[in-house]
């Protein structure tokens, strides 16, 4: 029933976007397009609804009609005309959020990478004359980014990592401020570049794990997982994919759509049929919104139960996640997270007395995961904390 969704509109837009030169690999921010508001991408967000999932929904294109209407309404209410960066418009004060939003509109660009590039733009446009000033400015920018969406783990983690990576360098000891600054910009761009490429690295790393004739269960739409499967298909591997439907935003439909285009045999299963199909499955592949310190992952709702089922049937669960999603969080249980809420369309009106669980994600503890494919290499869950300790301490 995916055709009933609004996805075809966005598909078309995406195809248009694909025709454009690939700006995402360069460092120039994309021109703010008018279509962004038409896409329903909110520039301001409703505090009750996770901005992260709004962006994802916009990018991943399977949007229910009433959500689209709602988002558009929100966008109209609080829509400022998109600003260009201060480099282009020196009268306006530079706002990291705007730059971030511009970057964020690129469907292929992860939110964290957008944040990283926005922060790089902060350094570039900074008028600070001392290192300390610059650092404080950067800190402020990253704080405002983090505050902009507290539910997005990768945004927070990306900002933190950027601060670590960029500011922890001997560049700060240069006597000449300008050379130090240019060094920082260089580092920032390098970091952006690394983050951008990480998906390809992960795809390469995980090829060894996909063998001919295997059946892979995927959940939701993850760009990394899609990259992995795409590369496997390009490498002429023979494999079959089971896509879960991915309620409520039905991102699984989108994935099955994309995979069908690559001529990969795909079967759609509804979310509740995971256990039913598990005995045919050879491995489970999921993405992650965030990888936490215990080595567990935070991902789209339903990942935990799939991991539980897979674990009880001794099937490996592989996670593909870029290292900028490593966050210094340590949830002890499902409720130990800032909830990321998301509207859910049940198709029929829900009586007001009935409560709806609207959380968009769950936490999968490390003992149910087999391996994590990251751009740092193929890691066991316990190594995540190693890496985090080394990154942050």
């Amino acid at each position: 029933m995916w055709w009933r969704s609004a996805s075809f509109i966005l598909d078309r837009q995406q195809n248009d976007a694909a025709l454009r030169p690939d700006t995402s690999s360069t460092i120039t921010p994309p021109p703010p397009t008018e279509s962004s508001s038409a896409m329903g991408l909110p520039t301001d967000h409703n505090p009750n609804i996770s901005a992260y999932y709004q962006t994802r929904a916009a990018h991943h294109a399977v949007v229910t009609s009433d959500w689209l209407a709602q988002a558009q309404a929100a966008a109209v209410v609080a829509h400022d005309p998109p600003q260009s960066t201060s480099t282009a418009d020196p009268d306006k004060p530079f706002s990291v959020i705007d730059v971030f939003n511009n970057w964020r509109r690129q469907p292929d660009l992860a939110e964290a990478v957008a944040a990283i590039r926005a922060l790089a733009a902060v350094i570039r446009s900074s008028q600070a004359s001392t290192m300390m000033q610059l650092e404080i400015e950067l800190k402020k920018a990253s704080d405002s980014l983090k505050a902009w969406d507290t539910t997005s783990i990768s945004l927070t983690a990306g900002c933190d990592l950027f601060m670590r990576y960029v500011t922890r360098t001997s560049a700060l000891e240069y006597e000449d401020f300008n050379s130090a600054k240019s060094r920082l910009i260089e580092r920032a761009e390098k970091f952006g570049e690394i983050s951008y490429k990480s998906r390809k690295i992960i795809a390469m790393l995980s090829q060894e794990f996909i063998f001919d004739g295997c059946t892979i269960l995927v959940h939701g739409f993850s760009r990394v997982v899609f990259e992995v499967l795409k590369l496997a298909a390009q490498n002429k591997k023979l494999f079959r994919v089971f896509c879960t439907e991915g309620r409520p935003d039905r991102t699984g439909l989108r994935l099955s759509n994309e995979l069908a285009k690559l001529d990969v045999p795909v079967k759609l299963v509804i979310d509740s049929a995971v256990a039913y199909t598990m005995d045919e499955v050879d491995m489970v592949f999921v993405g992650a919104d965030g990888v936490v310190e215990s080595g567990g992952i935070i991902n789209m709702m339903g990942t935990y139960q799939i991991a539980l089922v897979a674990n009880s049937m001794n099937k490996p669960v592989y996670v593909a996640a870029e290292s900028y999603k490593f966050a210094r969080l340590y949830p002890l249980d499902q409720k130990d997270l800032a909830p990321a809420l998301r509207p859910i369309d049940f198709g029929v009106p829900i009586p007001s007395k009935v409560e709806v669980e609207r959380s968009a994600r769950d936490y999968t503890p490390p003992q149910y995961l087999t391996l994590l494919f990251t751009d740092l290499g193929v890691l066991t869950p316990s190594v995540v904390s190693d890496e985090l300790i080394q990154l942050y301490l």
Binding site: E293, R328, Y330, I389, Y392, L393
Partner: protein
């Protein structure tokens, strides 16, 4: 050592078996044990070893330590003592204390009157234990009059003399390593050998050449040849030494050693053999014993060693009878007698600084318990001791003070076995002493050491606790029911802080006999107005279903994530795990240790069995009166247990919240820093 064991060993001799286990100097040919010109290529790797060996804490299991110390000491070919001291300060001195045998203390955990003194013990957590009036008492005497320290010093001087001896010295060093490796292989025999090696320092090797040397030889030489060679070398060495001076250590201790070993334990046959081979020579009696950090783990089921250790001990303890078979290797004594005995000796024991003595008594009586409190008390006592310390004439501060601290530590160990966290702290202090620049004057050095101690306490304990509280509080939500077991200072601070932040939660304090330290915690929580529930561990499975978080303290956390803590913790953690309640362990990073332990048997502490045999306040319950005379009854009062990492959801340390699998990372990344701050 019964002769029957010895027999197979000599049978092995003709076909020398060559199995190197653990540390050994790479490529050092066994011949070196006989004819060792100082070889710089070997001394270098060796000193590396000493660095790592140096990092062993007294409670640990480190066979390589002694060998490396020997090596470091003996491998120095230079003579000039200031220079030597200089070079030693770089690598070896920190482990210098290790070189000297631990007085294998028949240590006793005495907790005769805890509950009555609980409050006092608790109050002293941050209290300073000033030496008070007796501070100046010993200052002057220190240098001259203590028997133990005095011996240390002479021994050390002699050792350096050996170094001057050059060839002989380094020759001795290398075999020591081999001996140790061998001893790892043949268990019980080896223990004796190792012990001897420790006792005699490097020189013990000589003795062993007779018995073990042959085993390690490469097959080339026959036994007779080797013996001849040894004999000649020994003669040469003795001659050289006689010329040198009366005290050239190796020869004397070589000779002394067998005699010494033989006398206290005539049963030890190989020692006896050795002794018979070379009697005579000047016996510098206890010279090189009793210095040093307590030897790692003495196996208390080894009768002969226990005998020896007992003779040395300051604290006289009578061994408890009918002990539990599985735990025979741990020390256990009859309680109650030592304290008055020690108290009466207060004014006679010169070598131990009064502040240290006081802390020791407090350990013995159970007034100070809890890892942090014990560690702080110990360090503050050391601070006092260092303040009153004077470098004796013709000694260097670095070496003398290390030995002195070592003797204090062994005294404290006799009072109650040193915990892992204290071991880490001692290791830190010793490395600081070793790292003192030689340019510092005595008073500057003392000030710098005192401030190091101060810093350790404030950074690694007090500040660490604050950071832990900050992290752990984020895991407490409104409406939570938190369960804690026993009394942990970190957990207490967390609960109080969360309460100050206005979080609404309830606390379940689970307690257990015999210490009932939970009551202490309970009282302090109630004073602050927290709503609490109190129960004994028997009811833990009943209470667990309403609990949402379990907070536990730890005595130490080992590298495999095993949490070593008050007995009962494992039980609580397992029940919590079964109920799917997250278990949060709060532990400062200075308590982490690189050791791996799988059970609570091989390293533990035994408490007073009498305490569990009767019930306080219930005079009518005395079914176990006179249990000690019942042959077939054994009481077990364990102090610690090990919680496998599977049952631990999270460890909160000063480096943040980490999973138990990350303990080795922290040990690896920061363990070094902790020592070399």
């Amino acid at each position: 050592m019964d002769p029957s064991r010895r027999a197979p060993r000599s049978a092995i001799d003709p076909v020398p078996k060559f199995r190197q286990v653990g540390f050994f100097t790479p490529g050092a040919p066994p011949e070196r044990s006989q004819s060792g010109p100082p070889d710089p290529t070997h001394s270098t790797p060796v000193s590396d070893v000493s660095q790592s060996a140096n990092s062993l804490s007294p409670v640990m299991i480190p066979p390589p330590r002694h060998l490396s110390d020997n090596l470091v000491i003996h491998a120095r070919p230079t003579l000039a003592s200031p220079l030597r001291a200089d070079s030693l300060a770089g690598g070896g001195v920190s482990s210098f204390g290790d070189f000297f045998p631990a007085p294998m203390s028949p240590a006793t955990p005495a907790s005769s009157s805890y509950s009555s003194r609980m409050a006092a013990g608790e109050g002293s957590f941050f209290e300073r234990h000033g030496g008070g009036g007796d501070k100046g008492n010993n200052a002057g005497k220190v240098a001259s009059s203590f028997p133990r320290g005095g011996f240390d010093l002479t021994a050390m001087k002699k050792v350096s003399g050996i170094g001057g001896g050059g060839g002989g010295g380094s020759g001795v060093g290398v075999p020591a390593s081999e001996l140790t490796t061998v001893s790892v292989v043949n268990d019980s025999l080896a223990i004796h050998e190792k012990e001897k090696a420790n006792r005699g320092g490097g020189s013990a090797v000589e003795v062993k050449d007779q018995s073990t040397g042959s085993k390690q030889q490469k097959p080339k030489t026959t036994k007779a040849e080797r013996r001849a060679l040894q004999e000649s070398q020994r003669a040469a060495k003795a001659a050289a030494k006689a010329e040198g001076n009366k005290a050239s250590g190796a020869a004397t201790s070589v000779n002394a050693k067998p005699a010494k070993a033989a006398k206290p334990t005539p049963k030890v046959d190989n020692a006896a053999v050795a002794a018979s081979e070379k009697k005579g020579g000047d016996c510098p009696p206890e010279k090189d014993r009793k210095k040093d950090v307590p030897q790692p783990r003495m196996q208390y089921d080894d009768k002969s060693r226990v005998e020896k250790a007992k003779r040395r001990a300051v604290v006289k303890q009578t061994e408890a009878r009918n002990r539990v078979e599985l735990f025979r290797h741990l020390p256990q004594y009859e309680h109650g007698s030592q304290l008055p005995d020690l108290e009466s000796k207060f004014f006679h024991l010169d070598p131990v600084h009064p502040a240290v003595y006081k802390v020791g008594l407090q350990y013995l009586s159970g007034d100070i318990c809890g890892a942090n409190a014990r560690c702080i008390a110990m360090f503050q006592a050391f601070q006092e001791a260092i303040k009153d310390y004077r470098v004796p004439p013709e000694k260097t501060l670095v070496r003398d003070l290390t030995a002195k601290i070592g003797s204090y530590v062994s005294f404290l160990n006799e009072c109650r076995p040193i915990s892992i966290s204290m071991g880490n702290a001692i290791r830190f202090l010793k490395s600081r002493i070793a790292k003192l620049p030689l340019t510092l004057s005595e008073s500057e050095a003392k000030v710098s050491l005192q401030s190091d101690i101060e810093r350790f306490i404030s950074e690694k304990i007090v500040l660490a606790n604050k950071v832990i509280v900050k992290h752990a509080v984020t895991k407490i939500r409104d409406g939570d029911v938190l369960l804690t077991y026993g009394s942990s200072s970190a957990v207490e601070m967390i609960l109080l802080h969360a309460h100050e932040l206005g979080k609404q939660f309830r606390v379940v304090v689970v307690d257990s006999r015999p210490k009932l330290r939970g009551q202490l915690l309970l009282r302090r929580l109630l004073e602050k107005g927290l709503s609490c529930e109190y129960t004994h561990i028997n009811a833990v499975s009943y209470i667990m279903h309403e609990v949402t978080r379990v907070f536990l303290g730890a005595s130490s956390v080992l590298s495999n994530g095993t949490v070593f803590s008050r007995v009962g913790t494992a039980c609580v953690a397992m029940v919590a795990h079964a109920f799917r309640v997250p278990v949060i362990v709060c532990c400062e990073a200075y308590k982490f240790h690189e050791r791996v332990q799988l059970d609570s048997i091989c390293s533990n502490e035994l408490g007073d069995p009498d305490i569990i045999s009767n019930v306080r306040g219930r005079e009518d319950v005395k079914y176990l009166d006179g249990w000690a005379n019942v042959e077939n009854l054994q009481l077990l009062n364990l102090i610690y247990d090990a919680t496998p990492s599977d049952y631990v959801s999270m460890i909160v340390t000063d480096y943040g919240m980490v999973p138990p699998t990350s303990v080795p990372v922290i040990v690896r990344e920061y363990g070094r820093e902790q020592v070399w701050i």
